[in-house]
């Protein structure tokens, strides 16, 4: 195929545009928050919320995590299959620590809450792996 002005690169350009869009169509932005509570040295509650971002996120990509992808573009499944790895990664990103301890009449009780505030993650699903990158 040749354009009217005689450009021979047109088919190559068209193909690369199609390829680029087919790759980016599988990318998505997700909002993830994580919290867990430890009471008297025993894990009391652990919560992770995952949802699609309703609007485009701002920020630059930070340290990425690559997970093996066997879940056909489902982030919840992907994270539940690689939960240990993902939670370690979240720990590395940083958690807010809130600790309260009360000693009443020489009896001690403590509560520690670790929280990752709601953060936008860009997730690229590929055939064999998924790339998760926080946007900050």
């Amino acid at each position: 195929m040749r354009s009217r002005d005689g450009n021979d690169n047109l088919p190559f350009r068209l193909c690369s545009i199609i390829l680029f869009f087919s790759l980016t169509l599988n990318a998505g932005e997700y909002l993830i928050s994580y919290k867990y509570i430890v009471k008297d040295a025993i894990l009391y509650n652990e919560t992770m919320n995952i949802s699609h971002a309703m609007k485009e996120c701002d920020g630059t990509p930070q340290k990425e995590l690559i997970l093996e992808n066997t879940s056909d573009g489902n982030l919840k499944k992907l994270i539940s299959k690689n939960s240990e790895e993902f939670i370690d990664y979240i720990h590395k990103l940083g958690l807010n620590v809130e600790h309260n301890e009360i000693t009443s009449n020489f009896q001690n009780s403590s509560t520690t809450i670790l929280t990752m505030k709601t953060t936008c993650f860009k997730v690229d699903f590929n055939d064999n792996f998924a790339r998760i990158t926080p946007l900050k």
Partner: protein, 178 residues
């Protein structure tokens, strides 16, 4: 002639005795001075030894104070922090693996708390209620709030339901520059 010789001998003897008599107070004074000097010297030695002992004590105290003093984060320098967190597995777990996972999570939270306490400090409030000369109620509240990132788990041990996580972290001055 004999008498004259005897006289000379007597005179010389008497002169010698006289000289001794004249010199004897000087030697005594000298002896006295030497003794006094020796005593002063011994006293000075004792004082020096005492001062040395005091210096050693002060140095030891200083070294101890330096060891216990909190580290200050200076520019272009970093501080290495190492803590151990402890967590307990709940009683109603379905498997030892679950017990281990839960206890480890709790231990990690405790280690994070320990890092936060070391870096940022602890807020402590105390309240004692005393009535009729007796403690009725005693409450101590401690709290920590911090943001911890880039902490690494070094070692994990799990023994008899208790999980211990050794965690370390390096903080540098640039981490706090805004």
């Amino acid at each position: 002639m004999k008498y004259s010789m005897l006289l000379i001998a007597l005179l010389s003897v008497s002169s010698l005795i006289g000289a001794e008599h004249i010199h004897s107070p000087d030697t005594q004074a000298m002896k006295h001075i030497i003794e006094k000097t020796n005593a002063e010297l011994a006293h000075a030695h004792a004082q020096t030894a005492e001062a040395r002992a005091e210096t050693r004590q002060a140095q030891a105290y200083l070294a101890k104070a330096n060891a216990t003093a909190e580290q200050i984060l200076k520019e272009n320098k970093s501080i290495h922090i190492s803590v151990v967190g402890q967590g307990v597995a709940p009683m109603n777990t379905s498997s030892p693996a679950q017990a281990y996972a839960l206890a480890k999570r709790a231990a990690v939270a405790d280690a994070y708390r320990a890092i936060a306490e070391k870096v940022k400090g602890v807020r402590i409030d105390g309240q004692d209620l005393i009535k009729n000369m007796m403690v009725k109620r005693s409450i101590i509240r401690t709290s920590v709030k911090a943001m911890v990132r880039n902490a690494n788990v070094v070692e994990t041990t799990f023994k008899e339901g208790l999980c211990e996580v050794e965690m370390e972290m390096t903080i540098s001055h640039s981490d706090f520059v805004q």
